[in-house]
């Protein structure tokens, strides 16, 4: 596998979804090529950081309004 081929499948590799027939060639290239292995490490960690990104919460007013609507709808459903 060349660097270009490795980069082409790196998205799948980052997600651990490489096709089984491609995996050995990719692993071999990572063993031999320091820049690709480093780039791959960066992408794996980048994805890890994104997956751990904390989400923002709604404001109290928004949350209360949504819960009120949910309560009202649940009340309507139970009467239907």
């Amino acid at each position: 596998m060349t660097c270009q081929e490795a980069i082409d499948v790196m998205g799948d590799a980052v997600e651990q979804r490489l096709a089984p027939e491609v995996q050995p060639g990719f692993d071999e290239h990572m063993d031999e090529c320091r820049p690709c292995a480093t780039y791959f490490q960066h992408l794996v960690l980048t994805r890890g950081v994104l997956r751990g990104l904390p989400g923002e919460r709604p404001s109290h007013a928004q949350r209360d309004e949504l819960l009120r609507r949910f309560r009202r709808r649940a009340g309507e459903s139970s009467r239907e």
């Binding site: 660097c3 082409d8 320091r34 980048t46 994104l50 997956r51 990104l53 609507r69 649940a74």
Partner: protein, 236 residues
């Protein structure tokens, strides 16, 4: 694990359908911020983005009794948001199958079938951290990542939010956004490449945030399982 997830999803759905307010509050707390982030990719107006999210939640409340669970709850909610966004932000809405930006506009790092441009003219240094959660303890790093995500072109931001932040399955993302698998892969890689670049620039400027005590060789092996050494630095 998958079975347990399936069961907990089924149990959550049952509670929501039974009108369990605590369950609904949990879903709102967990997803609201993500929905706002996704809504902002469809409009430049923060107020309209909030309206889109509000409409989405109302659609969820109305639709829960009829939701058959053929997709996951989160995927269903994201689908509602995208439909609402396209309706409410019609004037500003992006086309679903966006043309892939020319390489220069995408940050110049990669184009399909051609590998990394200038491979490897830049010397890459392994990052000295192995636990992403540790990096997120740094407010500065958190800002860098959020800013980099915010700065992505809308189509890249949509797929990175759904795939990497929210872990929605690729096939579901293609359905939600109306993308081909190839387009999804390209957009994802370009989005990740830009965020990688921002993070790399930040870590070069702030090496202490990258676990100062960690040996470089160990960090280089973080993405791998065998930890074997590499010798060649030349592109092939």
């Amino acid at each position: 694990m998958q079975r347990r997830n399936h069961e907990s999803e089924a149990s959550l759905l049952a509670r929501l359908r039974a009108g369990d307010e605590t369950a609904f509050a949990g879903v709102v707390d967990g997803l609201h911020g993500r929905l706002v982030a996704l809504a902002r990719t469809f409009t430049s107006s923060p107020a309209l983005a909030e309206d889109i999210v509000q409409e989405t939640w109302l659609g969820v409340i109305r639709g829960l009794p009829g939701f058959e669970g053929r997709s996951s709850l989160r995927t269903w909610i994201f689908s509602i948001l995208v439909r609402r966004a396209r309706t409410l932000a019609a004037r500003e809405a992006r086309r679903a199958e966006v043309p892939i930006e020319p390489n220069g506009a995408a940050g110049g790092e990669w184009q399909p079938g051609a590998g990394r441009v200038g491979l490897w003219s830049e010397r890459l240094t392994p990052w000295d951290f192995v636990d992403p959660a540790a990096l997120l303890q740094s407010k500065e790093a958190l800002h860098v990542i959020r800013d980099a995500l915010e700065a992505l072109p809308a189509a890249q931001r949509q797929v990175v939010i759904l795939r990497d932040v929210e872990d929605v399955a690729p096939a579901d993302i293609c359905n939600i956004l109306g993308l081909s698998g190839t387009n999804l892969r390209v957009l994802l890689h370009r989005g990740r490449a830009r965020i990688r670049r921002a993070l790399d620039d930040h870590l070069r400027d702030h090496p202490r945030q990258a676990r100062p005590g960690a040996p470089r060789a160990a960090a280089a092996g973080a993405a791998r399982t065998d930890g074997s050494s590499r010798t060649s630095g030349k592109a092939t």
